[in-house]
């Protein structure tokens, strides 16, 4: 007998706000977190804009000595996890630590650390590479640090599937609880890749918007004038529990997790399947897993990166899966505001779905001005909408052709 699984805590560090309240207020008000890059001199780059996390002090959440030995993505991960645990009113000293686990995603891990240490290697030689280089850089160290910070001795894993990483992580955490291997999981994702090398790489791929003069208008998913994604950074973490465990301790339930699906395009390293078949299979698998009819879905938090290809093929995929209902449901891309958090995107977007269900409010796709005839769904343009959300679905589609989808349901 599968266990029922619910979301009981939320923590986030995002370009539009730190903490659940600030984040939700910003994305339902249509606030853009995108500006010119300040973390390094990007003046020679074709893309000079990003959605940076502002006013983040790791010391607010992490011992100063520990924080020094963490890459920025780990600092985000640990901070958001502490927030989620606090939000869930979970006493980590009282829980059975062996049944408390962590599965998070990150696409690139400690790339800032890698760049800094490589520079040291080139300038000062091999003997000056920090002994903390490896344990700061490896992508799994985020979930390692969270386990240490929260004394979570249960299942622990890190998923790396590029931009699908944290939706895969959320899905895998859901499975762990569903099959009874743990009672509580911290899940979501973290990313901090607004770095010279990383931005240069994405620039060379011509994947990012070059609308440097109007940063706040640069991320415009589904709009006819979209010209690429905008890199974001941050972390989104949830406390996920078996329903049994949540009820026993009287936890507040945001939503129930009912379905998880994934697929591979098996088509190209970066380009999506030109008919959106992989994304469609992912959504179908998630709906089937949750025994949910496509007709019951009220909201899709789209991958919606604002690249010409993604938005077109994702729209096609939604139309294939949802048929006549595709035009009735709400589809929005919060990346219009947060930018694209790569491997952390599914973490904060899973949170968006949980909060949309809790508040019966769908956040908008901002900068939607010029309709594209190939993108012809209701993208909740520019203003959030009050509407009943019983079922919400979150899509994440990654380089490598990875597709992942989760389905959340109003708890009753």
């Amino acid at each position: 007998m599968k266990k029922r699984v619910v979301v009981t805590g939320i923590g986030c560090v995002t370009p539009v706000g730190i903490g659940k309240e600030a984040f939700w207020k910003a994305i339902t008000s249509g606030v853009s977190g995108i500006n010119r890059i300040t973390r390094f001199d990007a003046s020679q780059y074709t893309t000079q804009i990003a959605a940076e996390v502002k006013d983040f002090s790791p010391e607010d959440y992490i011992d100063k000595k520990e924080a020094r030995k963490m890459d920025r993505f780990t600092q985000f991960a640990v901070a958001a996890s502490h927030m989620a645990v606090e939000d869930a009113k979970l006493d980590t000293e009282a829980v059975e630590s062996e049944r408390f686990g962590v599965i998070i995603g990150s696409g690139i891990g400690g790339i800032q650390t890698l760049e800094e240490q490589h520079q040291r290697l080139m300038e000062k030689g091999a003997k000056r590479v920090s002994p903390f280089f490896i344990p700061m850089m490896i992508t799994n160290i985020g979930s390692g640090h969270i386990s240490m910070a929260l004394n979570a001795k249960g299942p622990n894993n890190t998923v790396v599937t590029a931009c699908a990483s944290s939706t895969n992580a959320v899905g895998e955490a859901f499975r762990v609880i569903e099959r009874g291997d743990a009672d509580i999981m911290i899940t979501g994702g973290a990313e901090a890749s607004i770095t010279p090398l990383s931005i240069a790489g994405f620039c060379s791929m011509k994947a990012m918007s070059t609308n440097n003069d109007e940063p706040q208008k640069a991320s415009r998913p589904f709009d006819a004038n979209r010209d690429g994604f905008v890199m974001g950074e941050g972390a989104g973490m949830m406390v996920m529990e078996s329903l049994e465990h949540a009820l026993k301790r009287g936890a507040t339930i945001y939503a129930e997790v009912v379905g998880y699906g994934m697929s591979a395009d098996a088509y190209h390293i970066t380009a999506p399947d030109p008919e959106g078949k992989g994304a469609a299979r992912s959504m179908e698998n998630a709906l089937r897993d949750g025994d949910v009819s496509y007709k019951d879905v009220d909201y899709i938090n789209a991958h919606g990166t604002s690249t010409p290809y993604n938005d077109k093929f994702e729209t096609m995929a939604i139309k294939n899966v949802f048929k006549e209902h595709a035009k009735e449901l709400c589809v929005s891309s919060t990346k219009s505001m947060t930018g694209h958090l790569l491997g952390a995107a599914g973490g904060i977007e899973g949170i968006v779905c949980a909060l949309a269900i809790q508040n019966d409010t769908v956040p908008p796709t901002i900068n939607y001005e010029t309709p594209d005839e190939e993108c012809d769904l209701d993208y909740v343009p520019n203003k959030s909408r009050k509407t009943t959300v019983n079922y919400a679905l979150s899509n994440s589609l990654g380089f490598g052709g990875h597709n992942a989808t989760i389905v959340l349901k109003k708890y009753s």
Binding site: R128, S130, P131, F132, P135
Partner: protein, 76 residues
């Protein structure tokens, strides 16, 4: 002077704000809770600061901060 600089480096590497209790007899590992990786990084920073080379087998014999200072004073 060497002692003060070494203490300052240790403080920075370990995030210790109150350095008033750090003496020559203080042990990095037993008193300041440094792990083996911290110790490597501290030795590296000291090598950089004083332009000295501290071989691994010397570093392994340091019992306290006084030993580090003595080594630096002798070899810089």
């Amino acid at each position: 002077m060497v002692f003060e600089t070494v203490v300052k480096i240790i403080g920075e590497q370990l995030g210790v704000e109150d350095l008033s209790t750090v003496k020559k007899e203080t042990s990095l590992i037993n008193d300041l809770e440094a792990d083996s990786l911290d110790a490597v990084e501290i030795i590296m920073a000291i090598e950089d600061e004083f332009s000295v080379e501290i071989p691994d087998d010397e570093a392994e014999n340091f019992k306290n901060i006084g030993d580090i200072v003595a080594y630096v004073e002798k070899n810089k």
